[in-house]
Amino acid sequence: MNDLHGILFAYRSDSNLGELTRPRNTCSLPFGGRYRLIDFMLSNYVNSGITDVGVIVHESYQSLLDHLGSGKDWDLSRKHGGLRILPPFGYAERGDGDYRGNMDALAGVAGYLNNIRQEYVIMGWGDLAVNLPVAEVLERHLETGADVTMVCTPTLKSSPRFSEYVEVSGDGRVTDLSIHPTAADKALESLEIYILSKQLLLDMVDYCAAHDVHSFSRGVLQPRLKSLRLVPYVHQGYVGRFQSVSDYFRRSMDLLDPAVRDDLFNPDRPIRTKDQSNPSTYYGPNAVSNSSLVADGCFIEGEVTNSILSRGVIVEAGAKVSNSVLMQGTVVKAGASLSYVISDKNVQINENRILTGHSTYPLAIAKNSIV
């Protein structure tokens, strides 16, 4: 499929994620043992045959750059097209600070948009855990003759004050859009993933720049509900959104459900990530590992239950880890005990420390900390 161009917004840094997003933006949040959140949408794009992807970044994108590199792990390292990282240099003339909204971000890369060689564009956020059949979404977009196709989920998960909801008429057209209401008032939650033609997008970006409109949903879709034909694509599969530390914890624990894993890690549409050449995980003679998801390169001599372990985690003999998420390089020393803990990269838990959070309020430990 060469008619679709991929754009990923990768500048959101949710402050409710606390310690987890201090060193990075939400898109580069580690998830599922070996992934970063951006791997999901990026893989969805690539698995649908998209060859050209622009990733719009703003601040704290160092870890994202390290992760994406030239794009070769997604087969996006190409002479013609491929992966383009788009920093906010075109935005400087407009002044200071963050993008106020995604139309601002698109205006910031207007030159890039003009050079898109595909007829259609898909744009969305890079911080969702979802295995979306993008090729099917495009097919539906062409079938329905929509101006804009919006991907929605019927399983509401997010906090309403950060979410958007759509109402659909009998003929399958979006008739109302509520943005950040106090309560989820409609049956479909928008994932803020859109397909539209390149030409329509360019017109919208022009209009918004000229009228100082900076939000796509509030500034473009809402006022034009009658004139634009908006059609939802309802994705029935799993969707993980990350708007708080407890969201992150719950979405991680979702992965221990085989049905969620089968959906998210569908082998026909594999989620690709940066290859790190880790060896296999080693379990020692007295190791215990139950109901857990464990990445390669771990060294486990203690007990692990109901947990997610990223690459290169060490659990020493006599240590106990339960209901926890341990990111890359976490070391749990002998005799330590963790329960309802999220440890960021390279955290070290020293001998006999006992750390306990709660399922609704997990204890998050900042990157590189020594406890």
Partner: protein
Amino acid sequence: MKKEVVAMLLAGGQGSRLYALTSHVAKPAVPFGGKYRIIDFPLSNCVNSGIDTVGVLTQYRPLELNSYIGNGQPWDLDRSDGGVHILPPYMREGEQGTWYKGTANAIYQNIGFLDLYDPDYVVILSGDHIYKMDYADMVALHKKTDAACTISVLEVTMEEATRFGIMNVDGDDRIYEFEEKPKQPKSNLASMGIYVFTWSKLRQYLIADEADPTSSNDFGKNIIPNMLNAGEKLMAYRFHGYWKDVGTINSLWDANMDMLAPHSGIDLYDPDWPIYARSPIRPPHVTGPNAKLSHALVTGGCRVDGTVENSVLFHSVTVEEGADVQYSILMPGAVVKAGAQVSYAILAENAVVERNACVGSAPSGDPDWGIAVVASDVTVGEGAVVPPSAMIREDVKGGEQG
């Protein structure tokens, strides 16, 4: 462009003593150690030693090996100058050309390739050993001693020496004699099949060897003795560390078991000398509520809900609840269903052991006992029994003895 050192990796051998495991792939492509294939070791050693130009000589069943190596990207060998090159035998004008007749002939047929890079030194490697070695250190000795050829040697016991090619050396480790499998060894320095040659010298000897119709065109049998007879300077390079030939079922099983002893053999976790591999795209492995894992290697995509002890699981292996796996090697995609027992066995890629079947058994003292092997894509039916030492190449029906 000129390169100081080019490595040539002999990867054409069938590995017939691995029987069913090499019926579809060349020996260097046989999976090893949970994450790897045998060829990852010499290839990673090359890159870690600073050698960026490697010719891989293929002949027997090369397709899987070719696609595994691909453009060399997992080993950082996707270079615009140098990199990894697959070198099969080829035809020449006038319908001329042959298969590689021997190790020396394989290099002879690729003189043209080497001339492209005009190297000072050529490192000859084989694709059937597990070890970590800094070839740069060996080349440094070669340069310092101004040798024509340097051969890497391992100190073995005098008993073992009767099974190896043995180098007899003087006080400076200069080789004065080479003996293939001597009955009465004079030294315990076994050749590891790793050579550094000064290319201009080797080139001469290869051409002379090719002109000799009685030669078997082999490094050990012909080139090395010829160089010694001609008075060339041949040096022994003493290697210390883990080195294992994995050319037989027993040695392959044994070397895999070594990987379970992270501090006794070879350290795969050492960040200063990583072994690279082309990794398939798989999620992390999952352990179920009933999983019992002890002294085991487990790789991405595995699902384990049974018992796994003293075993190596490659990617995407399934061990169901109630299954029992002991002292075994389960290659990518192997499945052991509920209630099945697998003991002292090798299950090749995508082999399936159905419910309550039994493959292999613990050593019994019987002289005929050995590791049981189930070939790739073979199914052992429900309740079937595969005895030790068996080599199963075709499906075994339920309830039968394989």
